[in-house]
Amino acid sequence: MAQKKSHNDQSEDNHTNESRRNFLKQSSLLTALAVTPPALMKAAEAGLDEKAAGFFEKKPLAIEVNGISHNLSIEPRTTLLDLMREQLALTGTKKGCDHGQCGACTVHIDGNRVLSCLTLAVTVEGKKVTTIEGLADGDKLHPLQEAFIKHDGFQCGYCTPGQIMSGIACIREGHANSDDEIREYMSGNICRCGAYPNIVKAIADVKKGGQKL
């Protein structure tokens, strides 16, 4: 973290900024060491610089999100959810539980609904990701987005992107043939506000409409 230094700083301010900077450097180093695997420590001690560099090595990733190709360099531990929200500024997909239990992070990979919080981004190499931001065609909303508005399918809206992504896939999969089936096949998306009845209505409406999604 760099501190901006004015050229007019007195030497005392410079000294404070320097010790702050040193403190940050030291504590970052200590933190980095704390989360470093023991094998890496050994490699560093043995002066095996190449092996040491390999552990923090970022991996290349070529991925298409909402029709736009990206060439990135990321740590393997980056989830697709964090990649989208933090590096691609696509914050429509939400982090609800981060453990695969709520469905708020649901996106499509090659058209299939999956949980982005449990997907390591490096495994999405060469695949096509669709998020809630990728549904509308300019100002023209996706049929299911329209249906959610028409049927009042959301209150706080936090689960809604996941519900819509999941709902589209549910219809495409052929699992929206009755209200009971919709409830069962949408059970991976939790709504704390309890908008479930209207979510079911929205999905049933679009399914009845018969449009190809």
Binding site: V35, T36, P37, A39, G54, F55, F56, E57, K59, E75, P76, R77, T79, D98, H99, G100, G103, T106, N112, R113, V114, L115, L118, T119, L120, V122, T123, S166, A169, C170, E173, H175, R183, E184, Y185, M186, S187, G188, N189
Partner: protein, 327 residues
């Protein structure tokens, strides 16, 4: 999550070699359990070997067996026409598990390898002999509502959480494994272990052995089937008790029957004694009740899960009634 190295392999041999030469490495398939465990710090591999490119995704007939590649997705198997026609019990069990999103990510092999969801196993602050041998079993005298009533030891009372495995053990499946020394075939019944004194070992695989496929032999058990999963919610929750039931009926006589239970043991629990009692008998509630009593021999509760001693036999009876059209 700790940082780790990541490589991709494209052959079974490559996958096996990568694990054998690095003791800190683990295979990554769907990741729905592994990534979760890594986020919680329960498991901390220093390298992940991504096996998703291995050509192990097919579902097909080979002679008189239905063969599923270890990387076939749970959703693909559940929706597969061959599976629905010839082994519908498997499709029903899969549909009862997890959520649609998870089924689109999880693989056949991964479903078998998944770890228990015991809260003491999952919490690195808690004693757990499975996660850290020698630290004790927190569930034994703790919160054990979801835990085992069969086959437990004082080292571990955890259950295997899978639904798919209950159907596979009922259908006499075989697991095909490829290892550093050789390939081998493991009867499904022998794949998972009881905890005994080594709760840290969930199954009988040696390090470096990779599941490549699961086979189900042809049978006449596709007409009268049911998978009954009893849980705290209508959907998307692990089983308190689940029963896979399949019968081959001639009129009202049970010619062949398979029964297995989930949510009750460290491994999928096949009910051989109950099956042997029912063979040749009429499909009636009275007979189902007697079979259930036999199945519950040796059952033992640990306090908060004593209700399973009543719930389990009732679930067996209801599953059989539905499977045979008597409900």
């Amino acid at each position: 999550m700790i940082n780790f190295d990541y490589v991709r392999v494209s052959t079974t041999k490559g996958a096996v070699d990568a694990i054998v030469k690095d003791a800190t490495a683990q295979w990554l398939a769907g990741g729905t359990n592994l990534v979760d465990l890594m986020k919680k710090g329960v498991t901390t591999p220093q390298k992940l070997v991504d096996i998703n490119n291995l050509p192990l995704k097919d579902i097909k007939k080979e002679g008189n067996k239905l063969v599923m590649g270890a990387l076939a997705l749970n959703s693909a198997v559940a929706d597969n026409e061959l599976v629905r026609k010839e082994q519908p019990l498997l499709s029903l069990a899969l549909q009862a598990g997890a959520s649609a999103q998870l089924r689109n990510m999880a693989t056949v092999g991964g479903n078998m390898m998944q770890r228990t969801r015991c809260p003491y196993f999952y919490n690195t602050d808690m004693p757990c002999n499975k996660r850290e041998p020698g630290t004790g079993c927190g569930a034994l005298k703790g919160y054990n509502r979801m835990h085992a009533i069969f086959g437990a030891s004082d080292k571990c009372i955890a259950v295997h959480p899978s639904d798919m495995c209950i159907a596979l053990v009922a259908l006499d499946a075989t697991v095909l494994v490829s290892g550093p020394k050789s390939d081998r075939r493991i009867p499904f019944q022998n794949f998972h272990r009881l905890p005994g004194d080594l709760p840290q070992k969930d199954n009988t695989l040696e390090r470096g052995e990779l599941i490549v496929a699961v086979e189900i032999p042809d049978n006449k058990l596709n007409k009268n089937v049911h998978y009954l999963k009893i849980r705290d919610r209508t959907s998307y929750a692990f089983a308190l008790v689940s029963v896979a039931a399949a019968a081959d009926l001639e009129g009202n006589t049970i010619k062949d029957v398979r029964l297995a239970m989930g949510g009750v043991a460290h491994k999928p629990w096949r009910l051989m004694e109950a099956e042997n009692f029912l063979k040749g008998k009429g499909a009636s509630e009275a007979n189902f009740r007697q079979a259930a009593v036999l199945a519950m021999k040796d059952a033992k509760g640990f306090g908060q899960n004593n209700f399973k001693l009543k719930l389990a036999p009732n679930t067996i009876v209801e599953a059989l009634k539905t499977a045979t059209g008597k409900s």
